[in-house]
């Protein structure tokens, strides 16, 4: 009777081991199969594509051109991350709504609001650092 109980315990322990092992393999397999959003390395992008003044939308048309007027703003803007620059351009230059930007970039409108707020705060800070007044 005692031996029977011990062997049942062995089976239960081994079943738990197999289940854990199989689950780990499954998680690793599914993570590899569904990687995050497609990315592109910076080396593959030419300098002209990175330039703010030469941005084109997906249809190949030029987006409206704009000038900062103040070199301090231009430098502060350049210090922003590419994502923040893109959001500001889409919002202020292309005149898109946060919901439309979110749809195009594949994120939530709240993320766009947050990024826009942080970008403007960063621009003000950088502008002040360069002796400007906002």
């Amino acid at each position: 009777m005692q031996k029977q109980e011990t062997t049942d315990e062995v089976k239960a322990m081994f079943t738990a081991w197999v289940e854990k092992l199989a689950h780990r393999v499954r998680v690793k397999y599914l993570t590899k199969k569904a990687p995050g959003p497609e990315t592109i390395s910076l080396e593959e992008i030419s300098e002209s594509q990175l330039s703010v003044n030469d941005l084109r939308d997906t249809s190949g048309e030029n987006i409206p051109s704009f000038s900062f007027g103040d070199w301090r703003f231009e430098e502060a803007f350049s210090a922003l991350s590419m994502e923040k620059q893109r959001i500001l351009i889409m919002y202020f230059v292309e005149g898109l709504k946060p919901t439309e930007i979110a749809e195009e970039l594949g994120c939530t409108p709240q993320h766009i609001y947050n990024q826009k707020y942080r970008a403007l705060r960063q621009i003000r800070k950088e502008h002040r650092k360069r002796g400007g007044e906002v």
């Binding site: 029977q4 062997t7 322990m13 197999v18 289940e19 689950h23 393999v25 499954r26």
Partner: protein, 63 residues
């Protein structure tokens, strides 16, 4: 299958007996199929990976 018989098979599989390992796979087939099912479909690649992982690690299992 009695519990004692299972223990015998498991011990043999741990020792490297291929037939015993095959029996272990047969016993745990439903569990392996469950873990290999993705969106309601059996993923044979995943099933194969689970089999390989069990075969590779069973020798390390301590009763």
């Amino acid at each position: 299958m009695t519990a004692n018989k299972f223990r015998e098979i498991l011990e043999a599989a741990i020792a490297g007996d291929q037939d015993a390992l095959e029996k272990i796979f047969r016993i745990y087939h439903p569990l392996i199929v469950k873990q290999s099912t993705v969106n309601g479909k059996l993923d044979k690649n995943l099933m194969h990976k689970i089999h390989v992982r069990i075969a590779m690690n069973i020798s390390k299992y301590r009763i």
